[in-house]
């Protein structure tokens, strides 16, 4: 956020009365709720969170060591806002949209110093503006008036801010401008620049929210194949530590077919964010081969960065996502992890000595989570374009126990649930998404898309796989008691088929150059191969071939290698033919 002009009225400013960690109380401060203030001699950024009599409570976004009573508190009179405009892609921010690379330069140190501020977008960089309106056109709030090429991948649409009145265009010229310069003038005196500000805690307006009908294709077999999420959908990934939340989020950020990715690292590990910062510029966008960073905006508020900024980073992220949605883009937002966000709320709430709800979380936890996920969706924007924000939140339940408040309140809202499982992770079954517990409520509305785009028996095949896996779960319970060999032949064969489903289809190696991304066509072909094996094997069994011989055929284990094949179509064709031939030769 840029340092807003502070109010002239000296009387609005106050002095610190007490300091306790990130919570500072000020006397005589004349501010509204959620106004941004600068605290102390060093000017640490904070936000008003409680007003009582002449005392105002402020949460400070920076470390408060050494700050003492009597120091000034300066009011900006503005709510916490983000700078919106070209330059947000290929950028990395902290929780209050300060660009971390700029901070490094300004502080001249690898450590985050205090009291340093920088605007979210470079105010001096010039962009080549191409108008899409001309004098005489009438524009309304939200309308697109021109385009700049923000990155090789993304054209940034310059829009009339939603809080303008709109009117007739007086002047619009092509040329090179910085973001503060006026690019389009309206007859009522309003001037449109490439720069907007928007308060983070307020959703940007839209005309209508629609039912999402297009999948967010992720290139991950278990997600696309069994538990798809829609563009504009919501999903939760809960799991204990070590179960692969972050790898799953990274995979989505790399391969999901969204136009824009906003990745919010909320209270997570510094090294993980560094991995993203180092990897993404080198990775290719699977859609067009451009660097992945060209469509990505990163927000990194690691676990040791100030807790109040962790509380705000989720809002900063979703506001940026909404802004690109307004341009008509499909945006996917990954929040890793919403539990850390909830804990930040808890920490601040307890410093305020609020009456705690469940497990010490504030009573408004459920409401805040709902507000956040409600900002996702498939929208008709106020300028008539359609865009979406998909929100995918990781949840880190203490002890892996899904009955805790953050998981439960999240599940009440989201429609896709990818349950990560420590047992699967322990046996290095990755992605360790439990197929019995997970669900997607978008399946039915997305099936038509898969049937049109991939294969018309997509839904049937999926159901077959689900049935086999369900049956396996039941059979495994018996196997645990009596051993596999005590089962009848047909059930032993089902276990074998289910094993291929688990090992070949559900497992996917995120670190293998080919297997890491699996297009829906390949996902489908892999499933049909396993089904071919299933059908032929049961025919053989019916013809009297012993189950040991069927299981022992040479070609079947090659199913496990489909994932790593680049020319999978040919491989699958050959494999199907071989399996069929080998099995038919047995009788």
């Amino acid at each position: 956020m840029s340092k807003a002009d502070t109010t002239d009225a000296e009387t609005d400013n106050g002095v610190i009365q007490s300091v306790s960690g990130p919570v500072v109380t000020a006397r005589d401060l004349n501010a509204r709720m959620n106004d941004v203030v600068y605290v102390g001699d060093e000017g640490l950024m904070g936000e008003v969170i409680e007003i009582e009599g002449d005392l105002t409570t402020v949460q400070v976004y920076e470390e408060t060591s050494g700050v003492g009573p009597g120091e000034p508190v300066e009011n900006t009179g503005e709510p916490l806002s983000v700078d919106l405009g070209p330059g947000m892609l290929d950028a990395i921010y902290d929780g209050v949209q300060r660009p971390l690379d700029v901070l490094e330069g300004k502080m001249g140190s690898p450590y985050l110093d205090r009291g340093v501020d920088a605007p979210g977008i470079d105010l001096e960089e010039e962009w080549e503006f191409e108008p899409e309106v001309e004098a005489g056109d009438v524009v309304e709030p939200g309308d697109i008036v021109g385009v700049v090429e923000e990155t090789v991948t993304i054209d940034h649409k310059v829009m009339v801010p939603p809080d303008y009145e709109g009117g007739e265009v007086v002047a619009a010229e092509a040329g090179s401008f910085d973001v503060t310069e006026t690019v389009v003038e309206l007859d009522n005196g309003e001037e449109v620049s490439m720069h907007q500000e928007w308060p983070v805690r307020e959703a940007r307006p839209a005309n209508d929210k629609k039912t999402p009908r297009t999948p967010l294709v992720s290139g991950q077999r278990i997600l696309d194949g069994l538990f798809p999420i829609a563009k504009g959908g919501t999903a939760a990934i809960p799991g204990p530590f070590g179960s692969g939340k972050t790898v799953t989020q990274h995979q989505l950020a790399k391969y999901a077919d969204a136009d824009i990715i906003v990745y919010v690292g909320c209270g997570e590990r510094g090294n993980e964010m560094t991995e993203v910062i180092e990897d993404f510029p080198e990775l290719e966008d699977p859609a067009n081969g451009n660097p992945l960073m060209a469509r990505t905006s990163l927000i990194a508020n690691t676990s040791n960065m100030p807790v109040a900024a962790r509380e705000s980073c989720i809002y900063t992220g979703i506001t940026i996502a909404e802004y690109y949605r307004d341009m008509g883009y499909d945006v996917a937002l990954m929040a890793d992890s919403t539990s850390r966000w909830a804990e930040a709320m808890r920490e601040i709430s307890s410093r305020l000595e609020e009456m705690p709800g469940e497990e010490g979380y504030p009573a408004y936890l459920a409401a805040r989570l709902a507000q956040f996920y409600e900002r996702a969706g498939y929208f008709e924007n106020i300028n008539g374009t359609e865009g979406s924000v998909s929100a995918i939140g990781a949840v880190s339940p203490p002890g892996g126990d899904f009955s805790e408040p953050v998981t439960q309140n999240t599940l009440r809202i989201v429609k896709t649930f990818w349950a990560l499982d420590a047992d699967l992770a322990e046996r290095r079954h990755f992605p360790s998404i439990n197929w019995n517990e997970s669900y997607s409520l978008y399946k039915d509305q997305l099936d038509p898309w898969f049937e049109d785009e991939v294969a018309d028996d997509w839904a049937e095949r999926r159901q077959w796989a689900v049935d086999v896996l369900d049956e396996e779960t039941e059979l495994q319970e018996i196997v645990q008691l009596v051993g596999k060999d005590a089962l009848p032949d047909d059930q032993q064969l089902t276990l074998e088929v289910a094993r291929y489903l688990r090992e070949a289809y559900l497992q996917q190696n995120a670190f293998h150059p080919v297997d890491t991304f699996c297009p829906p066509e390949k996902t489908y072909l892999m499933l049909t191969t396993i089904q071919t094996f299933n059908d032929e094997a049961f025919d053989a069994l019916d013809a009297g071939v012993p189950v040991e011989e069927i299981i022992d055929i040479d070609s079947a284990p090659r199913i496990n290698r489909i994932g790593v094949q680049e020319d999978y179509e040919e491989y699958v064709e050959d494999l199907k033919a071989e399996i069929t031939e080998e099995l038919r030769n047995l009788y």
Binding site: V19, P110, Y111
Partner: protein, 474 residues
């Protein structure tokens, strides 16, 4: 500097005093008792007329007339390269009768967060010489990898083994390279017993490791509140040596459970709203501020690698201390009581153990091209064998298929050959992987579904005589 004799309340480790000037949050305080003893503390909460002070040494002996001095600065650690070889107490004062330490700098112990943009991603393999770690859960420079243990387990032996053996392979090759960064160990003891401390000290002295070590000792009978500063002293020293003096620093913190208990004690004394099991709600943030001080920084040669040790109360990893730790650190190593009672040394259970930074730290050019595949296959095979053990108890070995029996044999051999190497054995990565192949060759070739065919061709032992490490005769 103003002195106050205005103490209004003393409660547990906390002292409340009235003041008439502005006192900064986190400022250092000295309290002089009537007996002339000087105690040190830190401002926990500061308002216009009263401050809450947490006293490191405990409040016994303080009365209403004790005088309170505010030093006007936050807590600092005097740092210098001369600290190497020294033994300090939990507040950073020397206790080894050595010469006075002349600091080059005095650094704030709270430590600012490293800008994620300035970090360098850790991907340099550290060879610990322990197969269960190197082979299955590789440690890299700049990682924080805790040991999850419980009371009565040999976690200290494991930590000592790592501290003794840890090396970075490339250093060995370029041994004559004088410019190369040196290795240093910083040992922070929090609330451990004198006996445990002696074991560490004896080991340090016996192996000559003390010369390249700094030891901070807060023992079980030292003040509990002091434990909240000890790790910050340790990490401030580590950062100084790593990022200003180019050392590769390995930090061992033991026992984090005692640290968290101290946090809880202070929280309770302040009558804070408790989180889970009475631990403060901000414990995640507090622990993160310690653990996140591991890492590498662009343009600096040194690194800080952390191995915190924690004893899980009741061997329960859902307890808040291991749970919050696991969410911050980059993996964990489990010390398992069952394996320990079987006599395995080190008793590491590799299945729940994890190193998150492993995948980028291994492979061709780093360790060996087949490392990742071998690791995956061994995990899968050992997990399979473990599952079958439950079944065997019910139906017996005869009821199982030939392949299942092979998995059972594999699991047994994996424990006795791969894991149980002894605390004194130092294996290089080639040896670790060779044992891996010897073991995997107990399984039929087509059961090795996680390994690239090319590697199977190269390494699979067709018969026992080809075994490289294990004796063919067993």
């Amino acid at each position: 500097m103003k002195e106050y004799q205005t103490i209004t309340e003393i409660s547990g480790p906390l002292v409340y005093a009235e003041v008439d000037e502005a006192i900064g949050y986190d400022e250092i305080v000295e309290i002089e008792t009537a007996q002339g003893e000087t105690l040190r503390g830190q401002v926990l909460e500061s308002s216009e007329d009263v401050v809450a002070i947490q006293v490191f040494e405990g409040t016994s002996g303080i009365d209403r007339d004790a005088s309170v001095r505010f030093l006007g600065e936050t807590m600092k650690m005097p740092v210098t390269e001369d600290l190497l070889g020294r033994v300090l107490d939990g507040s950073g004062r020397p206790i080894d009768d050595g010469p006075e330490i002349v600091p080059e700098e005095r650094q704030d112990i709270v430590g600012a967060a490293i800008n994620p943009y300035s970090r360098e991603y850790p991907e340099e393999f550290i060879e610990t010489g322990v197969s269960a770690i190197d082979g299955m859960n590789t440690l890299v420079r700049g990682q924080k990898l805790p040991i999850f243990s419980s009371s009565g387990q040999p976690h200290s032996e494991l930590a000592m083994q790592i501290a003794r053996q840890a090396s970075v392979p490339e250093e060995e090759e370029g041994g004559d390279d004088e410019e190369g960064s040196e290795f240093a160990v910083i040992f922070g003891a929090m609330g451990i017993t004198q006996e445990e401390a002696n074991e560490f000290m004896e080991d340090f002295e016996r192996t000559g490791a003390l010369e390249r070590s700094v030891v901070f000792m807060n023992l079980a009978d030292d003040p509990a509140v002091e434990r909240t500063v000890t790790p910050r002293m340790v990490l401030t020293t580590a950062e100084y040596l790593a990022f200003e003096k180019d050392y590769h620093v390995l930090v061992i913190l033991t026992d984090m459970t005692n640290y968290c208990e101290a946090l809880r004690e202070i929280g309770a004394a302040r009558e804070e709203v408790p989180g889970r099991r009475g631990y403060p709600g901000y414990m995640y943030t507090d622990l993160a501020q310690l653990y996140e001080r591991a890492g590498r920084i662009k343009g600096r040669d040194g690194s800080v690698t952390q191995i915190p040790i924690l004893t899980m109360p009741g061997d329960d990893d859902t307890h808040p201390i291991p749970d919050l730790t696991g969410y911050i650190t980059e993996g964990q190593i489990y010390v398992d009581p069952d394996l320990n009672s079987q006599g395995l040394q080190p008793p590491i259970n590799v299945l729940p153990s994890l190193s998150r930074l492993m995948d980028d730290g291994i492979g061709e050019g780093l360790t060996r091209a087949d490392h990742a595949d071998v690791k995956d296959q061994m995990f899968a095979a050992y997990a399979e064998g473990e599952d079958l053990r439950d079944l065997v108890n019910i139906v017996g070995r005869e009821a199982l298929s030939e392949l299942d029996n092979k998995y059972l044999d594999f699991a047994d051999a994996f424990e006795s050959e791969f894991i149980d190497q002894g605390f004194e054995t130092n294996r290089d990565i080639d040896e670790t992987l060779s044992i891996g192949w010897d073991l995997l060759s107990m399984l039929p070739k087509d059961a090795l579904n996680r390994i690239d065919e090319e590697f199977i061709e190269e390494h699979y032992r067709e018969d026992e005589s080809e075994r490289e490490v294990l004796e063919a005769a067993d």
